[in-house]
Amino acid sequence: MAAFVLRRLLIALPTLFVIVTLAFFMMRIAPGGPFDGERALPPEIEANLKAAYNLDAPLPEQYLRYLGGLLRGDFGPSFKTKDFTVAELILTGLPVSMKVGAGALVLALFFGVLLGTIGALRQNSAIDHSVMSLAIIGITIPTFVTAPVLSLVFGVYLGWLPAGGWHEGSLGALILPWIVLSLPLIAIISRLTRTGMIEALRSNFVRTARAKGLPEPVVVIRHALPAAITPLVSYLGPAAAGLLTGSLIVEKIFALPGIGRYFVDGALARDYTLVLGVVVVFATAIVVLNLIADILYGLLDPRVRYS
């Protein structure tokens, strides 16, 4: 077990390294720089600026310096948001993004498993079909349609919830982003659960549980459900990636001060360090979640060997 975790970590670190390297050089191939504006800067000033941010050094040297900084936890200064380091920007945004993402994940797991189980228990009934149609709707209606529509209906017309903004992280401000982010995940999780549940309900151990006279709810919840949702664990990594992608849209539409919006704005403004910083944070999150998923999978399914 320990050896397995160690080996996965040994794979995870090079993965992060490659991601940082790719992102670093891809950003630099892009034409333009952080100091391009409406008016061209006088060459002397531009040279000074570049020297101040160490952009005049050869690219390999800049790269090594950046890596060295990362190892010490130094993400460098932001080129565009003056007087802020990237670490400071990320530290202010990350709690917001995490609160939004974690809430959406919990919501998605709860409703996804619930709907999927209901669908499987009433397989091919009207309830099953409507649940699965809802699931497909969840996949096909993109976040950037549901977000403004819900914001308009509940925020403006009904006035039940704030239409946008952070409001110091109050519950009301979080509900709509949670719902919007979790809808596509609910769709996928409910489909996965339904498939797993149908398979589990047909298996021998469920027949045994029924044969020995256990009431149906116990059979479903205690015996079938754990087997049915085990495959969900390996969906954790992709789910996290989906949440991060969705956060770009949701943070923009609901005007939330998370780190998703830094990415697009930063890439457009050639704020190299900020973009790289966000990539590092996101990639770390995904790598860590994949690792947790692998470990959990082994704990839940004893047939999986840590090799």
Binding site: T15, A241, V264
Partner: protein
Amino acid sequence: MSTLETPGGGRGRLIEEAARVRGRSLWDDARARLLANKAALSSLIVLGIIAILALFAPLLSPYGYDEVMFDRITIPPDFSRAHWFGTDGLGRDLFVRTLHGARVSLAVGVVATLVSLVIGVAYGATAGFIGGRVDELMMRVVDVLYALPFIFFVIILVVIFGKNFILLFVAIGAVEWLTMARIVRGQTISLKEREFIEAARASGVGTFAIIRTHILPNLLGPVVVYVTLTIPQVILAESFLSFLGLGIQEPLTSWGVLISEGAINMETAPWMLAFPAAFMAITLFCFNFIGDGLRDAIDPKTR
């Protein structure tokens, strides 16, 4: 040969009977099952209608997709003036723009998926066929790329290459090939070891014939299913980028661009959001049903 002789009617009748029985290949079966699937069949029809509408868009309305009419700004659906979906903030006919958006979105979906298909099949088949160290290394690369949320990759690519229409196809396709590579590799490896391949080889079938008659049909099933599921993902990805202002540029349009404009004007002109969003949702809906139907049809075990 002589074993075909049977007491009652003899060889001639057997051959005659065999000629009357129409052989059914794997694909005939699959097609029959697909056409029997009502959801998939109606999805195919609806998708066909949307594609035809998109193709003949210029013939269906008197207006051009970039024709600005300042006396007709943001009017709701109006049948008397042939603005069936209303107009947008620049007085452009939304019906024509939605169908032109369909052209772009469908084209991006198909072309980018083809790019991902070519890269993914070549990469996955190579890794699966060579095996060993090479396979391990190649798949490790895929694992690494998987860990990067793909949309970030595309955003960086778009920033590098500029907001270029064709490069957008390639960029999305170049990122979407990962799952395809995994599927193809897995299939190739499992097929290589299967008994029927061994049997074919033992009975003297040539390598090329084995690939053509045994490996390819088995590879094709999962690939076709995944292609139909990739197209909607790509359409979503494109609209996502366009929504962020990184995709298709004016006056060209796509569903993403139209939805983005519609979301801004949602309160005053709800039709600007409703029509493009409905078209896109219906299209994605259809692709998903067709993909599910294909999977059931090609591999009935998974039902």
